[in-house]
C-alpha cells in the first residue's frame, strides 16, 4: 500500500514546486499509474480539477503504453500532448509513476521543461525510493488509521 508521511509529503511538494518554478510550468503533478494523484506543485492559479486530471492522464499513458507494446516497443518513456495554448508533457518515472508538466506555450516550451525535469529527475527518484523503502520496513500503516464505518447516507441528497 502506498502511503506518504508528512515529511515526505513536504519534500515531494517542495521538489515539484521548485521544478514548476524553474520550468515555468503552470503546474507539475506526480501521479501513480493507477490514476491517483500523489503530489503536486503549489500552483494556486491552476483551477482545473487535479483529481480528475490525474485519472485521465493515467488512462492516457496506459493506452499509449499498450499501443507501444502492440507495436513491439518494449516501453513508453514519455509523451506530449498540446492544446492551442498549453503543452502537457508526461514522463514515466521508474515505470510506476507519471510526472506531468502543464505549461503555457507562451511562457515556456518543451525544451525547457525537459531540461528542468532532467535536472530534478535523480532527486525525485531518490525520494520515491526512500518512501518505498520506508513502506517496506513498516509492518502496517493502517493500525494508525481509525476508519470507523462511515455513514454514507450523509453524502446523498
Amino acid at each position: 500500500m502506498l502511503s506518504l508521511r508528512p515529511e515526505e509529503d513536504e519534500k515531494l511538494r517542495k521538489l515539484l514546486t521548485e521544478l514548476n518554478k524553474e520550468s515555468k510550468s503552470k503546474i507539475v503533478l506526480l501521479i501513480d499509474k493507477s490514476g491517483q494523484l500523489i503530489s503536486r506543485s503549489e500552483s494556486p492559479a491552476f483551477s482545473s480539477d487535479d483529481i480528475t486530471f490525474a485519472s485521465l492522464t493515467a488512462g492516457n499513458v496506459a493506452a499509449s503504453e499498450a499501443l507501444s507494446k502492440l507495436l513491439g516497443d518494449k516501453s513508453l518513456n514519455h509523451m506530449f500532448t498540446e492544446t492551442e495554448e498549453e503543452g502537457i508533457y508526461m514522463i514515466l518515472i521508474e515505470g510506476k509513476y507519471i510526472l506531468v508538466s502543464i505549461f503555457d506555450k507562451n511562457l515556456s516550451n518543451l525544451g525547457i521543461v525537459r531540461v528542468k525535469i532532467k535536472k530534478y529527475y535523480k532527486k525525485l527518484v531518490e525520494l520515491l525510493n526512500q518512501i518505498e523503502d520506508r513502506i517496506k520496513r513498516e509492518s502496517s500503516v493502517t493500525e494508525q488509521i481509525d476508519v470507523e464505518d462511515i455513514d454514507l447516507d450523509t453524502l446523498f441528497e
Binding site: 506518504l4 515526505e8 493502517t142
Partner: protein, 193 residues
C-alpha cells in the same frame, strides 16, 4: 492499492464497476453522481462513443470527510463492456481496491455475463490480484424487464465466491446505493486489517 497521505490525512481507493456491455455500469455511477451532494464530488468524466457506449472509462471522484480526521476518496470507474474493448478493460483494473460486478438479468444476456466474468477473473490474475482477498459485490440489474432469470440462477452461476449481492433497477436508482455502500464497506474494512 489504496494511497494514504498522512500529511493531508487523505485516503484514496479505486472501485471498478465491471460487467458486460449495456448491463448498466454507467447508469449506476451516473445515478450516484447525480444524487451526491455537490461538496462531496469532483468532476465526472465520461469517455463514450456517440451512441453513449463507454469507450474507455467513466470516472467519478467522491469525497467523504471527517472519518475520524481522515478524508476518504473513492474513485469510481466503469469499464467498457463491449467485447472489442478487452484491452482497455484490463488497463482500468490496474490498482483496483474493490469491484462491483454488474450483471444483466436478461436471459439472452447471460452468456455475456459469464464471458465477462471469465474475462475479469483472467485480468485480475494477470495483475496478481487474489480474487478471494478482493472486496467484491454482485449486482443483478434490470430487474424491471420481463425476460429475466431468477436471482438464484444468477447467483449460482456468477457469485461463485458467495459475496453480498443485490437486485437492481439502476435506471430508477433501485439497489444502486445499497451496492455502493456494500463495496465501500468492504474496501474500508480491508484497509483496517
Amino acid at each position: 492499492m489504496p494511497f494514504i497521505n498522512f500529511a493531508t490525512k487523505e485516503i484514496n481507493c479505486k472501485i471498478v464497476y465491471y460487467g458486460p456491455g449495456l448491463s448498466g455500469k454507467t447508469t449506476n455511477i451516473k445515478w450516484i453522481y447525480d444524487h451526491i451532494k455537490p461538496e462531496n464530488k469532483g468532476e465526472m468524466i465520461t469517455l463514450a462513443t456517440e451512441t453513449e457506449r463507454t469507450l474507455f472509462f467513466d470516472f467519478v471522484p467522491i469525497e467523504v470527510s471527517n472519518v475520524k480526521g481522515f478524508k476518504v476518496r473513492f474513485h469510481l470507474y466503469t469499464t467498457p463492456g463491449q467485447i472489442i474493448y478487452q484491452a482497455s478493460r484490463k488497463l482500468i483494473l490496474k490498482g483496483v481496491d474493490g469491484v462491483v460486478f454488474v450483471a444483466d438479468s436478461q436471459e439472452e444476456r447471460h452468456d455475456a455475463n459469464l464471458d465477462t466474468l471469465d474475462d475479469m477473473v483472467e485480468n485480475l490474475k494477470e495483475y496478481d490480484i487474489d480474487i478471494e482477498e478482493l472486496p467484491l459485490v454482485f449486482q443483478y440489474n434490470k430487474r424491471d424487464l420481463p425476460n429475466i432469470l431468477p436471482v438464484e440462477v444468477l447467483r449460482k452461476d456468477l457469485n461463485r465466491w458467495d459475496r453480498p449481492d443485490f437486485e437492481a433497477v439502476a435506471t430508477k436508482g433501485i439497489g444502486v446505493l445499497e451496492t455502493f455502500k456494500e463495496i465501500t464497506r468492504q474496501v474500508l474494512k480491508k484497509l483496517k486489517k
